[in-house]
């Protein structure tokens, strides 16, 4: 093995070890004198020191040795683990990363490093000549500022080099692209079989087998580019830590669901936005300790990142328990910019914070408050085919929720025709597609509407919405599309069918088109435009408003059934609430089992929808408590959990639950179907 190979190996190893070191240091700060953690930190530094010495990187070895010496004083109890010590160690870790990067660039490699022997080590270094002794690292300042503005892509902790190989990203992208092209060519071949050879491909065993294999291959290829959200959370944690210390704030960083995976490219597109939201939360979401205490809140604030998969989408929420967004201030700013906020709901006014030039804070700092940022966040999220939403409660906190597709490569789509052109609609956004029935279409507020699941949904022609034709009432089928909070029906000329569509991004030269998700090459070589339902709904709503109509409202049913939603995660609670309220249910929420029992004691609900993992009383215990209660025992309980094992499901049923839905397979339709089934069964 030559010296370059040793260096490459070291750089590969160092990347993982530095990631691990950063995580350990942040954990150590939280736990204080945790001997196991201190030993782990020491071990990482010691290994880095030794490996870098073998690779001939004296500077890396020197820094690692100084840090190791400092950690040794912690290990033997010579000094306490203080925030200042952690500061020094983190800055040292930054220096190590910089030194390794420099070595990778070829800048700091010691001149005249001799080649290694056959075992991959420098012969004269096998005696483990120690680096120079430490000069007291606590007094030798390491002045590199913490680099929290950019996000490298660390590997997942715990992965062993023996089971992980590094592959250039472009190779994976090429592989995925070629698999997609193969699938497209396969479809074209099916078309040719039918048209040229008069063979029905669906009746051809070999063709079907190939289809199955290609589907599997496509699935596996897509997964090669999926990475967990945890790959970026350490940097966010570090940002919270450094910024809160700089501002004299006390903040606890919490993460949940960070094993949730999504497309690497999508996560990469989101990383800067997440960093911005986190820094925003620290800078002007969270109050100073004294202010919090004066408001009756704990001095230590919390900022939480919660990731979860819901159907084919991933939601990443950044939640703080700070002061919340001042809606009045946003309204004032909007008014000054000539934006008519008359008639806007509070939620819509909060949405204005994503507009350029509008800020959520009265203060301009070097971190935030300049009125730039949230609009960039929105632009970045939209470029990943996602959307960003905000909820805020004065004095209680703010949650920014980013919703993106897991992957943008292949989507099951409903194909429709409108205005003489075919379009694909991502299937997970299609709630209902049905033939037009004039008896079901009624008029309300000057426009046609349809009732679906107890809600009133406006109808608009798809061709009209897309500017392909003037609005004329037709008799074509209706397709109801939904995003996380709204539904809209679109009338099309005809339904063509459904199938997987390999979506390709449009040229980066083109402007962002909110109603268009991408395009695909059809088996006959023509181009199929794939529409983006949230953008389409937004466009239809804009058009409705442009005609001076009141905003569409999903009206609840009179005498509606009540549901108690129990989940400690604000994001999940609010998502379920919005889905169920839109479907006409009266919804109450509880944050854990104890809170739920208290709510039920005040007034029973027709159904309880609960998570499992919650503080104080979990979902299993809640279900058992309901079953044991003399007056509540007959309330249906539906569990919605991220736990997917058969044992958990069985435990839920044993506790007395009537249904069990996994969050990963959850979508609006499946939730409503389960709720309606349980309520119907008990009615």
């Amino acid at each position: 093995m030559d010296a370059d190979q040793v260096l490459r190996l070291f750089i590969q190893e160092a990347e993982g070890r530095l990631d691990q070191l950063g995580q350990l240091l942040l954990q150590l700060e939280l736990t204080g004198k945790d001997e196991t953690l201190i030993r782990s930190v020491f071990r990482e530094l010691h290994t880095l020191k030794g490996s870098s010495a073998v690779a001939g990187l004296d500077e890396v070895s020197r820094i690692a040795h100084e840090l190791e010496t400092l950690v040794d004083t912690l290990r033997v109890g010579g000094r306490p683990v203080t925030a200042d010590v952690i500061d020094t160690l983190l800055r040292g870790a930054d220096q190590l990363r910089t030194a390794v990067q420099t070595a990778q660039d070829g800048g700091s490699r010691r001149a005249g490093v001799p080649p290694t022997n056959g075992n991959g080590v420098h012969p004269q270094r096998t005696a483990a000549k120690p680096p120079p002794p430490a000069n007291g690292i606590a007094t030798a300042p390491i002045n590199s500022p913490p680099s929290t503005g950019s996000l490298p892509t660390p590997r997942r902790s715990g992965e062993s080099p023996a089971t992980v190989i590094k592959v250039p990203l472009e190779r994976l992208e090429e592989l995925t692209r070629l698999v997609g092209e193969t699938a497209s060519a396969h479809l074209r071949m099916g078309r040719m079989l039918k048209d040229t050879f008069k063979i029905d491909p669906a009746a051809c065993t070999e063709f079907n087998e190939l289809s199955r294999l290609l589907n599997d291959l496509q699935d596996r290829a897509t997964r090669t580019q999926m990475i967990p959200v945890s790959t970026i959370t350490d940097q966010l944690h570090r940002a919270v830590r450094d910024l809160s210390r700089a501002q004299g704030k006390s903040i606890r960083w919490e993460v949940d669901g960070v094993d949730t995976e999504l497309d690497r490219g999508v996560l990469h597109q989101l990383s800067d936005s997440l960093m911005h939201l986190v820094r925003n939360a620290v800078d002007h979401g969270v109050e100073l300790p004294a202010e919090r205490q004066a408001a009756g809140k704990p001095a230590m604030a919390s900022i939480r990142l919660h990731a979860m998969q819901l159907g084919s989408e991933v939601i990443i929420a950044i939640t703080d328990d700070g002061r919340g967004i001042d809606v009045g201030r946003v309204t004032d700013q909007a008014d000054r910019r000539g934006i008519d906020t008359e008639g806007m709901t509070e939620q819509e006014i909060l949405g204005l914070t994503f507009q350029p030039g509008l800020s959520t804070t009265p203060f301009v700092t070097d971190v935030s408050g300049r009125g730039v940022g949230l609009d960039v966040v929105r632009t970045n999220v939209e470029s990943a085919h996602g959307r960003v939403e905000v909820r805020s409660e004065p004095g209680a906190g703010t949650e920014f929720r980013i919703v993106v597709p897991i992957t943008t490569a292949v989507l099951r789509c409903l194909l429709v025709e409108a205005g003489g052109q075919s379009f694909a609609l991502p299937f997970h956004r299609v709630q209902v597609s049905q033939a037009h029935d004039s008896t079901e279409v009624v008029h309300a507020e000057g426009r046609p509407v349809i009732r679906v699941d107890g809600s009133t949904i406006p109808i608009r022609g798809l061709a009209e919405t897309l500017g392909l034709s003037e609005g004329r009432p037709g008799t074509g089928p209706l397709v109801v599309l939904a995003d996380t909070s709204r539904r809209h029906a679109f009338q099309v000329d005809r339904l063509i069918g459904q199938r997987d569509v390999v979506i390709k991004a449009l040229s980066p030269l083109l402007p962002h088109l909110p109603a268009v998700a991408g395009a695909s090459v059809e088996p006959d070589g023509s181009i199929l435009v794939v529409l983006d339902p949230p953008g389409l709904i937004q466009r239809a709503r804009q058009a409705d408003q442009g005609r001076g109509r009141p905003r569409p409202v999903d009206a609840p049913q009179p005498g509606r059934r009540s549901i108690l939603v129990v989940d400690d995660a604000l994001t999940i609670r609010e998502l379920q609430r919005s889905i169920l309220e839109r479907a006409g249910f009266a919804v109450r929420v509880a944050t854990d089992g104890v809170n739920a029992m208290s709510n039920l004691a005040e007034a029973p609900s027709d159904l309880v929808l609960t998570d499992i993992e919650m503080p104080n009383m979990d979902g299993f215990a809640l279900t058992e408590a309901i079953r044991e209660h003399p007056t509540l025992a007959n309330i249906p309980v539906l569990i919605l959990s991220s736990r997917s094992s058969a044992a958990d499901r069985q435990r839920g049923l044993d506790a007395g639950a009537d249904g069990y839905i996994q969050k990963s397979g959850f979508d609006e339709a499946s939730l409503l179907a389960a709720v309606n089934r349980l309520l119907g069964a008990r009615a």
Binding site: L506, S507, I527
Partner: protein, 148 residues
Amino acid sequence: MMTAEALLLPVGDDLYALPMDWVRVVVASPAVTRLVTAPPIVSGLFNLRGQIVALLDTAALLGIGTTGSAAFAVVVDGPHGPVGLATTGLPQRCVLDVPAGESELGGTDGLFQVGDGIAVRLDPGVLLTPERIGGQETRPDLASIAVG
């Protein structure tokens, strides 16, 4: 310094010269799919051997009206990937060796005499930028959302 070899693009009564270095291929009568909600500058999308390529209305891009239906698409290997420029007649190769003055249109860099006519040389590096093409972006405008 641009090459003197160019492809002449007929657009209505005008001739535009595209330096040969930028040209990938010429497609006759491309089957164009309309890209809904796109600005008028985008004529649509077409399939170039499995690759989805946007076809731009050359006249609209230059701000001189509209090209109308595209008889040919000249695929340009631009800095942001391939993109098609619509022409109303068959593009032909030529050599630009007789300057005829300065051009006024943005995205062009000079006039050249070609036979009895004048060709305006295109500068794809300036002409084919997201800012120029997205200038008529249709992103939802807050004011329009709020009104009504």
